[in-house]
Amino acid sequence: MASVTFQNVNKRFGEDVVAVDDFTLTVEDGEFLILVGPSGCGKTTLLRMVAGLEDVTGGEIRIGNKLVNDLPPTERDIAMVFQNYALYPHMTVYENLAFPLRQKKVRKEQARHRVTEVAELLGIGELLGRKPRALSGGQRQRVAIGRALVREPQTFLMDEPLSNLDAQLRVEMRLEIARIQRLLGVATVYVTHDQIEAMTMGDRVAVMRGGKLQQCDTPQDLYDHPKNDFVAGFMGSPPMNLLRADLESTDAGVALVLGAQRLAVPSSYATSHHLPRVDGPGVVFGVRPEDVEVRDVSSADSLITRVERREALGAEILVHLSLVDAEGDNAIVVNDSVAVVARPTMLVAKMGPRSGVSVGDHLQVRLNPDHFHFFDMNSGLSLRRGA
């Protein structure tokens, strides 16, 4: 059991493709690290470098204190769940699970014990005699997980191990994997596209984009204090609302200019954040959907909006709102040519399941002033002091 350290790790494919770019991070011994990022950002490549399936172009990878850049994969003692399962087709489920143990010369009896134990945990105990081709996608995926979990390796690498399971099975497996990982205390890197897995399973979450590490923090820190607009927009479902806005000074202090409307910025942000000058370049303003609240009366901290779309998700309703001008008619373009903001005049609000809004309604919404986020207009970096 050991930590995994990435020191300025680079990976290029050929001349042009930079899959991993100057990646530095330490996964502590026993830590469960979640790795997230958009498709193609280099997550799989990073795991493959740890496993030794891909050469490291630059930088150092250490397992424990040992530099493994040039260590053959068979000597790294790593267990990996592949994104596409990679089960041995000619072996039964039992033989698949027992294979890594056999390679490690574990005694037959002990191996049998371990395999049946893991198979029971993953709910595939009935399938031990079958070949992979006689399994459903979800069953195959569980066998793939099992093949990693039977071992007690230095490190677990899991590449979207639950992607093919139904919702209920996911919940169970999530708990099971997390439990086994705690039990074994093995450093784990776990890739997922699932927000719930990202928020609940790991000790820390690392967010990647374009091969670069954006931020690595505890899930709550990441959620509450994203370092940049990308992380803010990536974590959370639905993601944080991001709007480009100019700043304006008013009698009461500073306000955000959102089309024809103004939104007061509490004075505390002037001290907690490096807000730009009022005649400066403006900011990217962020607020999470759960911090958009419907109000009955108009006030200084509320906006007038129109309901454009309504998505009932059962436990909650997502309401897509557009900002309107004082007369309550036209949606106003706040700012065109915006890179980070897909719909500059749109806000998504999360509402209770019984709120009877319908498309076309005009709503007063209050943005919870305790949870404003400000990012630099150009770099996208958080303007929070000490961030």
């Binding site: 496993a51 030794g52 399936l53 994969p73 068979t74 003692d77 790593i78 267990a79 990996m80 592949f82 994104q83 596409n84 399962y85 990679a86 089960l87 041995y88 087709p89 000619h90 294979f99 890594p100 390679q103 490690k104 070949k131 992979p132 081709r133 006689a134 399994l135 996608g137 195959r140 093949r147 093919n164």
Partner: protein, 281 residues
């Protein structure tokens, strides 16, 4: 409309059946005639009109063929040579194919090119150089001389076939095995070979047939009658007994036995889709 289609389909199907049957008859007829002749008493072999079903059935050709001039001994020689050749050639070519399919090493392309050249040179052209080589290696007049050169002769084609088969085995499977601690040998024995059973079966059959049937090289290097193989043995019947066709055909029929057995044994390996379910499509 639908009825017309059905009728057309019927016509097409019938035409196909007729053609295939004609082809099959053409293929089987000489074989059947050989078999029937092998059961005829010698007097009736060349009777006119020819009898397809012999009026008089006898197995005396078989007993005579088997017991005359060490025929059983030739049979055993041939079997030994063919089996050892098949084992050696399949194993060696599988190893070569694995290296060529999966490993990066200097000279890989050149090595593969040489193998392809080996495929193109006709065997007869090699007769004299091979003879000189065999002489140097003290392999003349020995069954090992047959095994060594048969093995070598089959290597190129086998390697070529197996290499392309190995290349289609998903690379992810090897990676999985690498991570599970499997080195190249483990992967070869426990992944590549088991997954290639259909291809190995084909290659084994080819090799067995080729070495079982081979005549020219055997005739060239074997002088000692105790080391004759079956093709030579059968040829002997022709001159020696002023070609008693019943005997020749009975001997040939016996010689076909192991070939049929080999087909029967390996046929079970042709299971299609053995690799399905390995990786997510």
């Amino acid at each position: 409309m639908v009825v017309g289609n059905v009728r057309r389909a019927h016509t097409v199907m019938s035409a196909r059946l007729v053609l295939l049957s004609a082809g099959a008859v053409l293929m089987i007829l000489p074989f059947a005639y050989m078999l029937s002749t092998s059961f005829k008493p010698n007097a009736l072999v060349l009777s006119i009109p020819p009898q397809f079903l012999p009026h008089q059935v006898t197995t005396s050709n078989y007993t005579q063929a088997w017991s005359s001039n060490q025929f059983g001994h030739y049979f055993v020689n041939s079997l030994w040579v063919a089996v050892v050749t098949t084992l050696a050639s399949v194993l060696l070519s599988a190893m070569m194919a694995y290296a060529l399919a999966r490993f990066q090493f200097p000279g890989r392309t050149v090595a593969f090119g040489l193998i392809l050249v080996g495929l193109m040179v006709p065997g007869l052209m090699m007769l004299i150089p091979q003879f000189l080589l065999a002489k140097k290696l003290l392999l003349l007049n020995s069954l090992w001389g047959l095994v060594v050169f048969y093995t070598g002769g089959n290597l190129a084609l086998n390697t070529f076939l197996l290499r392309s088969f190995f290349q289609d085995i998903p690379w992810e499977l090897e990676e999985a095995m690498v991570v599970d601690g499997g080195g190249p040998w483990t992967r070869f024995w426990r992944l590549i070979l088991p997954l290639s059973r259909p291809a190995l079966a084909v290659v084994a059959i080819f090799t067995f047939l080729a070495s079982w049937d081979e005549f020219t090289w055997a005739l060239t290097i074997i002088n000692d009658p105790s080391k004759y193989t079956l093709p030579i043995g059968i040829a002997l019947f022709q001159g020696q007994h002023s070609t008693s066709w019943g005997l020749v055909f009975a001997a040939s029929a016996i010689a076909i036995g192991p070939v049929i057995a080999i087909f029967a044994i390996f046929q079970r390996q042709f299971v299609s889709g053995i690799a399905t379910g390995a990786v997510k499509a």
